[in-house]
C-alpha cells in the first residue's frame, strides 16, 4: 500500500526523523494561509515550496497537462505566488514519467519550507532476500534516480543490514557517516535520523522506505526533503492507523474491487484477457499468449479457490477493460473438481454478460465432466485441449 509524501513525512516525523515544516493545502486560499504560517520562522527567508501530492514519483520534472509550463513542484516567494501556483496545480492533471500518459489528478499540495542545501544524500530501506532481513542503503548521490546510480556507479551505494528487533547500531551509523563524508554535527544528526528511519520501517511493517534526497544543510543539519513509504500488504491487518491513510482516489477502481474479492489483478496493455488460478500459472499464461503472437491485457490470479464469486468478480474486472477482444480462462483444478469450476464459469459468464469470445482450458480432477458441462451448456465457449491449443485459439479469436 502506498501513501502520499505528506503522510510519509508525518509518520516519519513522529518516529524521530527530521523533516522540513510543511502544511497540506486543498485550495489556493489554504496554500496562501500555509505560506503565512510557515513564514513566521523560515529556515531560508521567503523560500517555500509548493509540491503536488500524488502517489507517483517524478513530480518535479512532471508537468500539468492543462498548463504545460507548470511543474509539479515549484518554489514560491510570496503568499500570492503560493496561491497562484496552487491554483494551477490543484484539480488538474499531473503527468510524470511514472504516472503513465493519462496522468493523475492532484487533490492536495504540500506547502513546505525550503532549506539551504549543502549536499543531497540518499537513504532507502528494503527487506533484502540475500540477507533475509532489512537493509539500509545510503548513497552520496542523492536527488538522482537511484536505479541509475545502482546501474552506473554501484560502489557509491553503501549497505548495512540490521536486525528487525535490534535495529541499526551506532557503529553502523559511524561507518556510513564516514563513507558519506559526514562530519561534526551532521554525524549526530545522521545517528538520530538513520536509526529513527530503521525503527519506523520495522514498526510500521514497511516494504520500502526512501528518503531522496536527504539534505545536509549548510548548518550541518539533516532533513528529509522527500519521503516515500510503502507498506507490506500482508501486515496491514495489524495497522489500522495506516489503513486510514489509504487514498482510494489514487487507485484504479477495478484494482480496489478486485483486491476486496481476494484476487490479484494487474492491468497490462494488450487485448487478450486471462483468468487463472495461481500466480505462477497466471504469469505463465501471459507468457504463453505472448509466445503465440498475442498480447496479454492483464495478470489475474483468482487464487487457489476459483469459486463462482471469484470467477464472476474476475470476469467483471477483465471486461471492464475496453481493450479486451478475447478471454482465456486457464484453470488447473487440483483438489477442486473441474465440474464445479465449469459450473462457476457458466454462472459467472451469464451474470456478467460476455461480449467477446471465451476460450476455456481446464485440467484436473473430473476434467472430462467439466468439459462436457461446458460443451452442452448452449453457451458459445471454446474448449481447448491443452495449453498450446488454448493459446492458439485465443490469439486467433482476438484477431
Amino acid at each position: 500500500m502506498k501513501i502520499h509524501e505528506y503522510q510519509a513525512k508525518d509518520v516519519l516525523r513522529r518516529a524521530g526523523v527530521v523533516v522540513p515544516r510543511g502544511l497540506v493545502a486543498e485550495t489556493p486560499e489554504e496554500a496562501a494561509a500555509a505560506f503565512d504560517e510557515l513564514g513566521q520562522e523560515l529556515a531560508v527567508p521567503s523560500e517555500v515550496w509548493v509540491k503536488a501530492q500524488i502517489h507517483a514519483g517524478g513530480r518535479g520534472k512532471g508537468t500539468i497537462q492543462e498548463i504545460p509550463e507548470q511543474h509539479g513542484v515549484q518554489l514560491v516567494r510570496s503568499r500570492d505566488e503560493a496561491a497562484r501556483v496552487a491554483a494551477r496545480i490543484l484539480g488538474n492533471t499531473l503527468l510524470t514519467i511514472q504516472t503513465g500518459p493519462q496522468g493523475q489528478t492532484v487533490r492536495r499540495v504540500l506547502v513546505e519550507e525550503g532549506c539551504e542545501i549543502a549536499r543531497e544524500l540518499y537513504l532507502g530501506i528494503v527487506v533484502d532476500r540475500g540477507c533475509a532481513g532489512p537493509v539500509l542503503m545510503a548513497s552520496s548521490e542523492g536527488g538522482m534516480d537511484i536505479e541509475r546510480v545502482a546501474a552506473e556507479t554501484p560502489e557509491l551505494i553503501f549497505r548495512e543490514s540490521f536486525g528487525a528487533d535490534a535495529g541499526l547500531q551506532g557503529y553502523q551509523v559511524r561507518k556510513l557517516a564516514g563513507k558519506l563524508g559526514l562530519s561534526g554535527p551532521s554525524v549526530r544528526a545522521a545517528d538520530k535520523s538513520m536509526r529513527a528511519l530503521c525503527r519506523a520501517f520495522v514498526q510500521y511493517d514497511c516494504s520500502l522506505v526512501e528518503i531522496n534526497p536527504l539534505v545536509v544543510t549548510k548548518a550541518g543539519r539533516l532533513a528529509a526533503l522527500d519521503a516515500k513509504m510503502t507498506f507490506d500488504e500482508n501486515a496491514l491487518f495489524r495497522h489500522p492507523e495506516l489503513s486510514e491513510l489509504r487514498d482510494l482516489s489514487e487507485e484504479q477502481p477495478v484494482e480496489i474491487r478486485v483486491a476486496e474479492a481476494g484476487l490479484s489483478y494487474v492491468k497490462l496493455d494488450g487485448n487478450i484477457g486471462c483468468l487463472v488460478n495461481g500466480a505462477g500459472l497466471a504469469m505463465s499464461t501471459m507468457d504463453l499468449i505472448k509466445l503465440h503472437g498475442g498480447e496479454p491485457a492483464n495478470f489475474l490470479d483468482v487464487g487457489g479457490g476459483a469459486d463462482t464469486e471469484q470467477v464472476t468478480e474476475g470476469f467483471r474486472a477483465l471486461l471492464s477493460d475496453n481493450n479486451v477482444r478475447a478471454v482465456l480462462v486457464n484453470i488447473f483444478g487440483g483438489i477442486m473438481r473441474c465440474s464445479t469450476i465449469a459450473e462457476a464459469i457458466l454462472t459467472a459468464y451469464q451474470s456478467v454478460g460476455f461480449h467477446v469470445p471465451l476460450v476455456v482450458r481446464l485440467e484436473g480432477t473430473e476434467v472430462e465432466k467439466g468439459r462436457e458441462i461446458l460443451a452442452t451448456s448452449g453457451v458459445d465457449i471454446v474448449a481447448a485441449d491443452d495449453l498450446t491449443d488454448a493459446a492458439q485459439k485465443v490469439v486467433a479469436a482476438a484477431g
Binding site: 500482508n234 495461481g278 500466480a279 504469469m283 505463465s284 499468449i289 498450446t388
Partner: protein
C-alpha cells in the same frame, strides 16, 4: 529413496481444527500420509478425523512421535506456529499459509535457520513423495512415482509441470513447493543438494519466476556441483517491472529479478530451459536424452 518424506514420516497438522487444515488433512490421510495428530491451542483433547488434537506442538510430539508438521495456521499467528514447531524440535516444518507479514518471516527464519529444523515454505503447496506421503494441498492423482525431483516456487504451475512429466512417463521421486514469499525456509540449492545425494533421483526439473536471484544462484550451483540432468522453466517473461504479480516475492525491482536474466543464467549453466509452459516435461526429456547421449 526420495528426499525428506516417505511412508514412515509421521505428521501433525497445526491448525487442524480450522477449515483449510481440516479439509487438507483429510485429503492427505486419504492419500496414505501417516497423520498422527493435530495442534490447536485451546482445543487439546478433541479428536478430528480420527486423530488426537493437542494444545501444543511439544505435547503432540511427545504423545505421537511426530517428526513433521504441516502448518495451516492463519497469517497473524503462522510465524509463531513455525517458531513453536522449531522449538519443539520438529525436524521438518511445511508451512502452507499465504499472507504472513514479511517481517514476521524475517524473525522466524533467523531462528529456524539456527535450529535443526528444515522449513519448507511458507506460502507453498507442500511436499509429496508419490505413493508414500503427501503433505500439503497438491492433488495426489497427478503424481506418479519415478526418478525426477521437482522443485518449484509456484503452486498450480507445479501441478502443470508434474502432470506433463507423468504423461510423458517421467515419474517423480519427490516434489516440493518452495513458496511464493520473498523469505522462504529453503532454497533451490538446499533441495538440489538433497537430490544430488538421493540415489533414486536421476534428474531435476525446477520452476522459477521473477523476483530475487534464487534461479541465478541455483544455476551457478548446478554448473559447479550437479551432474544429473536439469531442466527449468521461468515464469514471468512478460511481467512488467515494479508490479507484484500475485506472489509477494514475484516482483522485479531495481532492474533485478527479470525472467530474461534468470533464463540466461540457467542456459549458460547448461540447463535445458523450456521456452513455453506447455513444454516443461519435454525440456526434462531433452535434458535426460542429452545426458545419456541420445
Amino acid at each position: 529413496m526420495s528426499i525428506l518424506v516417505d511412508k514412515n514420516t509421521r505428521v501433525i497438522c497445526q491448525g487442524i481444527t480450522g477449515k483449510a487444515g481440516r479439509f487438507h488433512t483429510r485429503h492427505c490421510i486419504e492419500y496414505g500420509t501417516q497423520v498422527v495428530g493435530g495442534v490447536t491451542p485451546g482445543k487439546g483433547g478433541a479428536t478430528v478425523l480420527g486423530v488426537p488434537v493437542f494444545d501444543t506442538v511439544s505435547e503432540a510430539v511427545e504423545h505421537t512421535g511426530a517428526d513433521t508438521t504441516m502448518v495451516f495456521v492463519p497469517p497473524p499467528f503462522a510465524a509463531d506456529a513455525i517458531l513453536e514447531a522449531a522449538d519443539a524440535g520438529v525436524r521438518l516444518i511445511v508451512a502452507i499459509t499465504e499472507g504472513i507479514p514479511v517481517l514476521d518471516m524475517v524473525r522466524a527464519y533467523e531462528v529456524v535457520r539456527r535450529s535443526d529444523s528444515v522449513l519448507i515454505g511458507p506460502n507453498c503447496p507442500g511436499i509429496i513423495t508419490p505413493g508414500e506421503c503427501k503433505i500439503g494441498i497438491m492433488p495426489g492423482y497427478i503424481h506418479r512415482r519415478g526418478s525426477i525431483g521437482v522443485i518449484s516456487r509456484s503452486g498450480t504451475l507445479t501441478y502443470e509441470a508434474v502432470w506433463q512429466l507423468t504423461n510423458l512417463g517421467l515419474g517423480q521421486s519427490t516434489c516440493l513447493g518452495l513458496g511464493g514469499d520473498p523469505i522462504v525456509g529453503s532454497s533451490f540449492i538446499d533441495l538440489l543438494k538433497r537430490f544430488h545425494d538421493d540415489g533414486e533421483t536421476e534428474g531435476v526439473l525446477f520452476i522459477g519466476e521473477i523476483g530475487g536471484t534464487a534461479e541465478e544462484e541455483a544455476a551457478a550451483y548446478v554448473q559447479e556441483y550437479f551432474s544429473k540432468p536439469v531442466a527449468a522453466f521461468v515464469a514471468g517473461r512478460t511481467a512488467p517491472p515494479g508490479k507484484r504479480m500475485g506472489h509477494a516475492g514475484a516482483i522485479i525491482s531495481g532492474g533485478q529479478g527479470t525472467a530474461a536474466e534468470k533464463i540466461a543464467a540457467l542456459k549458460s549453466a547448461g540447463i535445458e530451459v523450456a521456452e513455453s509452459p506447455a513444454e516443461m516435461g519435454d525440456a526434462m526429456r531433452r535434458a535426460i536424452d542429452r545426458s545419456t547421449g541420445i
